[in-house]
Amino acid sequence: MAGQGVRLSRPNLLSRRSLLCAATASAVAGVAPRAAAFGQDGAFHPRLLLNAGRPLDAAHTSGTSRWSWELIRRTSAPARLTVGSVAADSTELLAEPFTVWLGSEAVAPLSEPEVRGLRTYLNLGGVLFVDDSNPDVGSFGRSVRQELQRVLPESPIVQLPQQHVLYKSYYLLDGPVGRVKGLPYLETIAAGKMLRVVISSHDLVGAMAQQRGGGWTFPVEPGGQAQREFAMRLAVNLAMYVLCLDYKDDQVHAEELMRRRGRLRR
């Protein structure tokens, strides 16, 4: 009979619902964990970039777990609820193609190994999401831009066009919002059609941050809960872009999405 002789047993596959229930209280781990279950190796994982050994802002980082949770709840994509962190000069940075760099203060200049590590990561096809937790001050964003110019000196930072597939990779969106309304656009460093770096001045992760008891960590201004919903939609779109790239730019989607976009704008 087919399959006879297979020796090892397999673990039970967790259902998506049970996975969500089990993980609602997940927290950010100190070291990025590797996938341990079949099917989880390719799961979305918004791991955090460690900044020169500085401790991560726990109030914000809980937002990345919520990001994964929302992705699992809203879409078919698998995601890692226990989010790890990774250093820019670590070989672990090259283990997965998505990394989040967030902060509220100016970052210290990257060391040469960190610059090389990030450059290798981005050249290999990794996507770096930069999220300014304190865009009103903007010191984090400015310092990160300076460091990115060291990492990719030939690549300018430009505005992400509103027609970009990132705004239609799952939800149809008109623009970016986060905990704050921020700039009406995202910024990017791209290689052709591939986004390498996406820069948000909206504290997107902050809009998803949760307290241990379950409430939201930060109020969302000025739009309140509706704005928080659109921030989550942007986060889902960003995750979907990382997982599917320009899939929604395919011709088979074009006509229908154009029709829906027109209906939304009316």
């Binding site: 399959g3 297979v6 397999r10 590797r34 190796d41 809203r74 879409t75 994509a77 149809l172 997982l243």
Partner: protein, 735 residues
């Protein structure tokens, strides 16, 4: 017979003779010029001068008398017999070949006094024929090139023939039938002797046939191709309208009906233009057949089998993924990076049974997964389908799996990539699709194993061209894979490239990456969902992420029969004709391919047939030619396997008669024209006695050479005459 002639001695070079003659003429000219200016002419001066110069010249060239005895022998006559396969066509109760043999015997009898040599022409060089009482003429080749035969005869060493007799039905490949006399002389007049022709038959058979098939340009997969079929019909049968059909012969399934039409016959010939679309690249065997009218006496040329080489402009892929993951991302990124690949992708982004997007559908960028439309209307347009971690039941693929299996049997490609919802985990076990995969699937509840492992190359994996690109980058190293689908053992004929280092099935290591053939198509089973680590991982970074493309280049290339990923190249040497000489297949190994060669030949039929297997031991890099006897008309697939490497496939056609029988009409007017243009005589079998006899050839038997006078006589005469000339000049005051 005795003859006497004069000549110049043999030991004087030609240039000496010419120079001597020129000096003699110049001396006489000067003498005439000198004497003509004098009032009183001296005939003594002129005569002595001319004779002295002549004697000097004769002393130089020394003339001789040649007495020869000669014999007359019969003229040499060459008889050229058409040996093309066309001569095997029936003509009443015999064949044209048998009539040609009769004609040759009678020609040889007619030229009994001549020295006749009988030579066969067709394809290739002239061949001497020996026509004993029991020996027959064997045919060779489809063509009968009289122009080349005459040219070869003219270029041969030895005595040229005084006449040539051509025995044929006149339907030559060359010279063509519509040439003028000067053109014909140019084509067959190299010998400068008459070409007499003997027509073996003047009877046009009652026959409809496919004369030719022409395609407008190159056949490209998925693109319509205009094909013009020329149908001939002659004799006493109803030739007004003849239906024509084109089919594609395939392995293990019924032939595909490509097009039908009707040829309207006018003046014995008609054409029908049909449009066909071939979906699979590579050599495809097409069958062109006509519905012959009642009374057709040559049914063998009602059907032609031809191999069409179909090129691929672009590869069109259908990529279906059950959920978006980094593995899906890596595959999509690679597929989209290749300009020669058209990808139609559908990823399940939302499961309507469980996911809660929290927005009305018009705020979502999601479209309906058109599974029914894809698998009923568009499946044929794809070169290959990639199923990546997509559940067959949940996403309603299960009702189309039989169609998908048939699509593969007809030449499509299929890759199933691992994941929790692949293979048995996606409810594919026990389905029609399961049966065409290169591996069996467990039917119990164990769908996958979560333990990380590093796959191991098998012996075939080391030998296969398909893995050469990645092995060149990473050697035998592979990244760690996080779990695997459980797979059963490899099906017969499948090739396992990667295996699990710990899991076993039926006593052997469990396959991880396996290749297989199903009918005309190819399939790949990959049990893991972590090959994205070849694109993005610390190991991937050591080769700039190129290992992923190297793996998938090989897999997709093999799936699409890219010659770069085949272990060997197979080709048919010459033609494959039923009932003729053995068919020769040449197998050329790719550099580095080791191991014995196993060649398997099977007919392209639904029922298949007993495969013909040849094994050639050894590692020789030289091309191997394998003779295969007894192939009937139809399509065949030849699979050459080198050592443990996946087999390379070549489809080819065998014909009954082929192009030689495509036009069965004899062409007596062409024979008449050739004879007329070269000064020969054209006759039928009954008129061989009317062929003119060329003149006999004279052959010298004895030859005696004697000088007219010894050299000193000419020298003495010249000295005396010069003395007389000097005295005469002095007496006349010319000194």
């Amino acid at each position: 017979m005795m003859t006497t002639t004069w000549a110049i001695t043999d030991d004087v070079a030609s240039w000496v003779v010419i120079t001597t003659a020129a000096l003699l003429v110049a001396a006489i000219g000067l003498l005439v010029h000198e004497l003509s200016s004098r009032r009183q002419r001296s005939w003594l001066i002129f005569t002595s001068g001319v004779l002295a110069a002549a004697c000097v010249a004769l002393a130089t060239v020394r003339p001789v008398v040649v007495e020869a005895r000669a014999n007359l022998v019969g003229p040499r006559v060459a008889v050229l017999v058409d040996e093309s396969r066309r001569l095997k066509l029936r003509d009443g109760n015999s064949t044209r070949l048998e009539r040609a043999e009769q004609a040759v015997r009678r020609v040889v009898e007619h030229y009994a006094g001549a020295r006749t040599s009988v030579l066969g022409f067709g394809e290739g060089p002239l061949e001497p024929l020996s026509l004993g009482p029991d020996s027959d003429i064997a045919t060779r080749g489809s063509r009968s090139d009289l122009s080349a035969a005459v040219r070869d005869l003219a270029g041969a060493a030895g005595e040229r023939p005084r006449a040539v007799v051509v025995v044929s039905d006149g339907r030559f490949s060359r010279p063509l039938g519509d040439l003028t006399d000067p053109q014909l002389r140019e084509a067959v007049g190299a010998l400068g002797v008459p070409l007499h022709t003997v027509s073996v038959t003047d009877e046009t058979p009652d026959d409809a046939s496919i004369r030719s098939v022409r395609a407008a340009g190159v056949a490209v997969a998925h693109q319509p191709l205009a094909v013009t079929v020329e149908v001939g019909c002659a004799g006493e049968i109803d030739c007004s309208r003849i239906p024509v059909r084109i089919r594609e012969l395939r392995d293990g399934v019924p032939p595909a009906e490509l097009a039908t039409g009707v040829a309207e016959i006018k003046d014995g010939v008609g054409t029908v233009e049909l449009e066909i679309t071939l979906d699979r690249a590579g050599g495809r065997v097409l069958e062109f057949s006509l519905e012959a009218p009642n009374g057709d006496v040559i049914p063998e040329n009602d059907t032609r089998h031809m191999t069409f080489v179909v090129a691929r402009d672009r590869i069109r892929l259908l990529h279906l993924a059950g959920r978006p993951t980094y593995d899906v991302r890596a595959l999509r990124r690679w597929l989209k990076s290749d300009e020669s690949v058209d990808v139609v992708a559908f990823f399940i982004l939302r499961d309507s049974d469980g996911d809660e997007p929290g927005a009305p559908s018009f705020e979502l960028a999601l479209i309906h997964f058109p599974v029914d439309e894809l698998f009923t209307e568009h499946l044929r347009s794809f070169d290959a389908v990639i199923l990546q971690d997509i559940d067959a039941v949940r996403y309603r693929l299960n009702s189309h799996l039989a169609r998908l299996a048939a699509y593969v049997q007809l030449g499509g490609g299929l890759i199933m990539v691992g994941g929790p919802s692949s293979f048995a985990g996606g409810s594919y076990a026990g389905t029609e699709l399961d049966s065409i995969l290169p591996v069996e699937q467990p039917q119990d509840d164990k769908a996958f194993d979560a333990k990380p492992f590093v796959p191991r190359y098998t012996e075939a994996g080391h030998a296969a061209e398909v893995t050469r690109p990645i092995r060149e980058l990473l050697g035998d190293s592979l990244p760690e894979m996080v779990g695997t689908n459980f797979l059963g053992q490899a099906r017969p004929g499948a090739i396992v490239l990667w295996e699990h280092p710990e899991l076993t099935v039926a006593g052997k290591s469990m396959p991880v990456l396996a290749l297989g053939e199903a009918g005309d198509g190819r399939t790949i089973a990959l049990s893991v969902d972590s090959t994205h680590r070849l694109a993005f991982s610390p190991m991937a970074a050591t080769v700039a992420g190129r290992a992923y493309g190297a793996l998938w280049d090989g897999l997709l290339g093999w799936l699409m029969r890219d010659p770069r990923y085949e272990a060997a190249r197979v080709e048919v040497v010459g033609e494959c004709i039923e009932g003729e000489a053995d068919t020769t297949l040449r197998v050329t190994r790719l550099p580095g391919m080791r191991g014995k060669l196993e060649l398997t030949i099977e007919p392209l039929t639904q029922a298949g047939g007993e495969p013909l297997v040849r094994e050639i031991p050894g590692d020789s890099v030289e091309p191997v030619e394998i003779r295969v006897p007894g192939l009937k008309a139809g399509g065949y697939t030849a699979k050459a396997r080198i050592g443990e490497a996946p087999p390379s496939r070549h489809d080819f056609a065998c014909e009954r008669g082929g192009v030689a029988w495509a036009d069965s009409r004899p062409d007596r007017p062409r024979l008449d024209a050739i004879a007329r243009a070269t000064g020969g005589t054209s006759v039928g079998l009954d008129g061989i006695d009317e062929l003119p006899l060329p003149e006999a050839t004279r052959v010298a038997a004895q030859r005696e050479v004697a000088p007219v006078a010894p050299p000193w006589v000419w020298t003495l005469a010249a000295a005396v005459l010069l003395g007389v000339h000097w005295v005469a000049r002095r007496n006349s005051g010319l000194l």
